[in-house]
């Protein structure tokens, strides 16, 4: 399987480490120990959509440029629709 790293170009699966479903880290509430804070982190850390179909995932180009990527992929066919740097995605998610 080839992943088109935005820095390095198409690279083999072997060079990557996969973290799994791309979940955003919640913004902690002012009260770190509030129910809302805890519920937000429980959701983000443990619960997954896990669809059979299009899926956004966090991958690290570990044996390459060491960029964390957001890979959009079909979990039924393994077709990859796109790979972008997580940094740009993270900026987008925060807005």
């Amino acid at each position: 399987m080839l992943i088109n790293c935005p820095y390095c170009g198409p690279r083999d699966l072997l060079e990557f480490t996969v973290k799994g479903e791309a979940r955003a880290r919640p913004d902690a509430a002012a009260d770190l120990d509030s129910e809302a804070s805890r519920a937000g982190f429980v959701d983000a850390v443990y619960l997954r959509d896990n669809p059979a179909g299009r899926h956004k995932e966090h991958w690290l180009h570990a044996s390459g440029c060491q960029s964390w990527l957001v890979i959009e992929r079909d979990t039924r066919t393994h077709e990859i629709f796109g790979a972008s740097l997580v940094a740009s995605d993270a900026e987008g998610a925060k807005s």
Partner: protein
């Protein structure tokens, strides 16, 4: 009454005779033979015994679809079971034996199983051997296991080597038969990079088996000239003896049999090479497999697939028998009849299940007695075919024959396409399954696409080759197609006529002895989906994966259930297409090369000093530095500890993870990553850190040195170095990209040594360049500096202590590591220095109660380790929120304590459990476990760290240390987890 070599003809080299043995008997064949063709030429018919009933079996096919002719090839450590004689190239000195028979192939006592066939039907095992329960493992199963299995593995290490390699191309062509050659020619002429893989040692595929003429020349000659043209092109690579055997997302796996046609690989050659081929487009031109027909006793030696009979005749110059008959539902049988005639052997009868004779074979119809709408009702013969009984038009007739060519249609070789999960589609036209869709750029061509006429194959393969090239921007001119005499092998499925009296002798899966009656039984018992049928009867699970069996069985089940074949279902082929040696797939990742070895700068020095090494992940760390005076390694460790505690020692700590954190926001960043407040560490100082996972459990702990306001160095533990770095990269890039911070993993860039012990300041002082002073006041514990040592060598010095003594860690660029280690020993000699290994270091850290890998094992919390107070609660950091969950801070959790045996000589071992005293040890009285334990030469007692439920609340309590798997059982006391200098005064001395 058997096969023989024709006086001339065939693609064998009669000038090169080759000697070989089968079951100890010597034979001669020729270069170009397979083991099967050479044995047939020598009149051998009996090759093996079937799996279950030990029926005599001969050769059915001429390729990888062979279910019967399996042998053990070679001897000793190179012995290889279940080798298909039909796929083995003959070489001089080949040694083969028949398998799964006792005492001999000709007389096999296990054939008695055949008499019990009415009992041994499908699913038999599931209904019996249950009484009494305890007899299964002791009696029934051993008997079954011994009877099962085919050949014998060597049982010893494979002496041959293997390689793995990679190849890349625009167009991969699988198979160099007519379709593959034409597709490759077209794509290559257009300029595409082409790899053409051919399983056989020569190109041509089916052209080698047929007496076709192309452009007026014999077809094999055309194939040779096509290959020559391809070979002359710089953009083409032809790989012979290479089977493309599995398709994966984005690549194919192929096996090149580099040396299998030699007795053993020549020097520096691998036996096989395992290829990963990345292709933009793929043309699947792997041909097809012929199907046998279902009739009683259809498994006797001498009954052979029609196309295989022709392969032996035309390619190998071997006639399958002297008196042959043909039984066919396709035109292929007629082709075989014609080739028999040309060889001067007139078949005694051609039985066609169809109603009319194919028009193109008037010559055959004239010369051979033909029976249309006929059927073979049975066969005779003890260890090989001697006669067939044929029915046609209400009459029965017996023919004495020693060979019967059968043809029941062709299955396109679509396995590679199926590996992508595409469901095959049924073609009524050819009564077979075709590849479903064109998954991942794989385009079937030729017989693999269900196209059988040669002219049509050339036209469609050329178009496929052009299309693949064009898809990558290579314009292909319309090729001039070769002219051929049109032949076709259209066929239909022959209907099975259920007959309870005979079904038990109609073999469907030859190797596994699955008969029509087994299919009937599976149907009767409800195993009607194709997968249930397969699993219940073991149909299609033999070494040829049901190539010759599946469709017949499917047709039977369809007939029984009144459904069509596609409604009945199809089983997807799974990788590999052709069985693949494990050694080849592993390549050279064997023995010591299984995984990389990471060595520190002093590996060679340590080795010379006689140090044994311990594996820590991929690292090799010196465990002890024994000297002749040490009684044993335990004494070594004790001496090394005493050296550090009383004088000075040096050890290699280079394996610690080293992560540079640089930038204006480095402190902010670390405060978010660490549960401690890293930003509070002042420049020129070190500080302790704890990292949590986001779920609140411990990830790692260690030290951070701060060399400048914007420059930190994180020392992660050896075991967690890689995962901590990945995690920190994620935090920087995904969570807080707005921070001005950069990370660099420099673990391998620096060699680092701990110099520990009361005399360590003097040793360090002797290393550092003037005017730096190493004193209690100028460079106190927890100091950090970038400096030079040994006359200008850049270094990093931290006054860190893992041992509990005054100690330093000095790091230099890795290239200086060995030299620095020698220098340390040299200048330290005056102070009584000795090197110490990981064992002594471990003992001292247990004495000090520092948690390590056994304590920070991913299951423990900071609270468990007594570190809760070190964490800063007032900021958000990774793991902050979830670490506060009550369950992670429950007093009853197993929490870190120290344990000392009441009798100091009672041995404590890590892994022993801690249970309540005074009650029987049980799950209910289980309090926890020992995570680390050692003999402490300092305390003259065994000591341990452990996790005990509510432990810190029970200091002073007596507990029982229970270690039943090692026979340990003693009393111990719960103490605080620091046995030595609890107030930490010694480093400040």
């Amino acid at each position: 009454m058997s096969g023989f070599r024709l006086a001339d003809g065939g693609l064998i080299d009669r000038s090169r005779p080759l000697k070989f043995t089968f079951d100890g008997k010597a034979y001669t064949g020729y270069a170009g033979d397979t083991l099967a063709s050479a044995l047939l030429a020598n009149g051998v018919r009996l090759f093996g015994r079937s799996f279950k009933y030990h029926r005599p079996r001969g050769v059915l096919s001429a390729g990888h679809e062979e279910p019967n002719a399996l042998v053990e090839l070679r001897e000793g450590a190179r012995r290889e079971p279940n080798v298909k004689a039909t796929a083995v190239e003959l070489y001089d000195g080949l040694v083969a034996r028949s398998q799964n028979r006792w005492p001999s192939l000709a007389f096999d006592a296990m054939a008695v199983n055949g008499l019990l066939k009415p009992i041994f039907s499908a699913g038999f095992y599931y209904k019996t051997f249950m009484w009494p329960a305890s007899f299964w493992e002791k009696l029934y199963e051993p008997v079954i296991r011994r009877a099962a299995g085919l050949g014998r593995a060597s049982g010893v290490e494979d002496p041959d080597t293997y390689e793995r390699s990679n190849a890349f191309c625009d167009v991969l062509v699988v198979g160099a038969g007519p379709a593959g050659l034409m597709a490759a020619l077209t794509a290559a002429r257009a300029g595409a990079d082409v790899i053409l893989c051919e399983d056989q040692p020569r190109v041509g595929g089916q052209l080698l088996s047929d007496r076709e003429f192309i452009d007026g020349r014999p077809a094999p000659e055309w194939a040779v000239s096509a290959a020559a043209e391809l070979a002359a092109l710089p953009n083409v690579r032809i790989m012979l003896r290479t089977t493309v055997t599995a398709a994966f997302d984005g690549c194919f796996a192929a096996l090149e049999r580099v040396s299998d046609h030699y007795p053993e690989p020549s020097a520096f050659q691998p036996r096989q090479r395992f290829w990963r081929i990345v292709a933009k487009r793929t043309i699947l031109a792997a041909g097809s497999t012929e199907r046998p027909l279902a009739f009683p006793d259809n498994d006797r030696p001498g009954i052979m697939l029609s196309s295989a009979v022709r392969t032996y005749l035309n390619r190998f110059g071997v006639a399958a028998g002297r008196v042959a008959a043909i039984y066919t539902s396709t035109d292929d049988g007629w082709l075989t009849a014609r080739d028999f005639l040309r060889a001067g052997l007139t078949p005694v009868v051609l039985v066609d299940t169809r109603a009319s004779a194919p028009a193109a074979f008037a010559d055959v119809a004239k010369a051979v007695p033909i029976m249309l709408e006929g059927a073979v009702l049975g066969t005779e013969g003890a260890k090989g075919l001697s006669a067939i009984i044929v029915a046609a038009g209400g009459a029965q007739k017996r023919f004495e024959v020693d060979a019967l060519a059968v043809s029941g249609g062709f299955n396109p070789a679509i396995q590679l396409a199926s590996h992508f999960g595409g469901k095959p589609s049924w073609s009524e036209n050819i009564s077979a399954f075709l590849a479903g869709g064109t998954a991942q750029g794989v385009e079937p061509a030729g017989a693999a696409a269900g196209v059988f006429g040669l002219a049509e194959i050339f036209a469609e393969a050329a178009a496929a080759g052009a299309a693949c090239a064009a898809a990558q921007g290579f314009a292909a001119p319309a090729p001039k197609l070769p002219t051929v005499a049109q032949t076709s092998t259209a066929g239909s499925l022959a209907a099975w006529r259920p007959n309870p009296a005979k079904d038990g002798k109609i073999f469907v899966d030859f190797q596994h002895d699955v008969t029509a009656s087994d299919v009937v039984l599976a149907h009767r018992e409800g195993y009607r989906s194709v997968e249930h049928l397969k699993r219940y009867t073991t149909l299609g699970m033999a070494t040829e994966q049901g190539r010759t069996a599946n469709i017949s069985a499917l047709a039977m089940m369809a007939q029984l259930t009144g459904r069509t074949i596609p409604e009945t279902g199809v089983t997807l082929a799974r990788p590999p297409v052709v069985p693949l040696a494990l050694g080849a797939v592993a390549g050279d990742h064997r023995r010591g090369a299984f995984r990389p070895v990471r060595e520190t700068a002093i590996h060679a020095l340590s080795s010379e000093a006689g140090a044994p090494f311990v594996d820590v992940g991929q690292w090799k760390r010196p465990q002890y530095f024994p000297i002749p005076e040490d009684a044993d390694l335990a004494a070594t460790a004790a001496r090394e500890v005493e050296t550090v505690r009383t004088r000075v020692g040096v050890t290699d700590v280079s394996t610690l993870g080293k992560i540079e954190v640089l930038g204006a926001d480095a402190g902010v960043f670390l405060d978010r990553v660490c549960a401690t407040r890293a930003s509070a560490i002042r420049p020129g100082r070190c500080g302790y850190f704890v990292m949590l996972r986001e779920d609140g459990f411990m990830m790692d702990d260690g030290m951070i040195a701060r060399f400048a306001p914007d420059h930190f160095l994180v020392y992660a533990s050896t075991a967690h170095a890689a995962s901590v770095y990945r995690h920190m990269l994620f935090c920087r890039q995904a969570l807080w990209p707005e921070l001005d911070v950069n990370l660099a993993a420099v673990t391998d860039g620096w060699a680092q040594f701990a110099i520990a012990g009361p005399r360590s300041p003097a040793v360090v002082q002797a290393l550092v360049d003037a005017p730096r002073a190493i004193t209690r006041t100028v460079f106190p514990p927890m100091s950090a500096a970038e400096l030079t040592i040994c006359d200008g060598v850049p270094a990093r010095l931290c006054a860190l202590s893992f041992s509990g003594e005054r100690a330093f860690e000095v790091a230099v660029p890795a290239g200086y590591g060995a030299a620095l280690f020698r220098r340390i020993l040299d200048v330290g000699a005056a102070y009584g220095i000795a090197p110490y290994g990981s064992e002594a270091m471990g003992v001292m850290r247990i004495e000090k109660g520092h948690p390590a890998g056994s304590e920070i094992n991913g299951q423990t919390t900071a609270y468990d380790l007594g570190l809760a107070r070190a964490l800063s609660k007032d900021k958000d950091h990774i793991g902050r929120v979830l670490s506060a969950r009550p369950a992670l801070n429950d007093r009853k959790r197993a929490r870190l304590v120290g344990l000392t045996p009441l009798d100091p000589n009672d041995r404590l071992r890590a892994g022993a459990h801690v249970v309540e005293t005074g009650v029987a040890p049980s799950a209910a009285s289980d309090l926890g476990w020992l995570s680390s334990a050692a003999w402490s030469p300092t305390l003259r007692s065994f000591i341990a760290l452990g996790f005990v439920s509510g432990g810190p609340d029970r200091l002073g309590d007596e507990v029982r240390i229970f270690d039943p798997v090692r026979g340990g059982d003693c009393a111990a006391r719960i103490v605080a987890p620091c046995f030595y200098d609890p107030n930490g005064e010694r480093p400040r001395v």
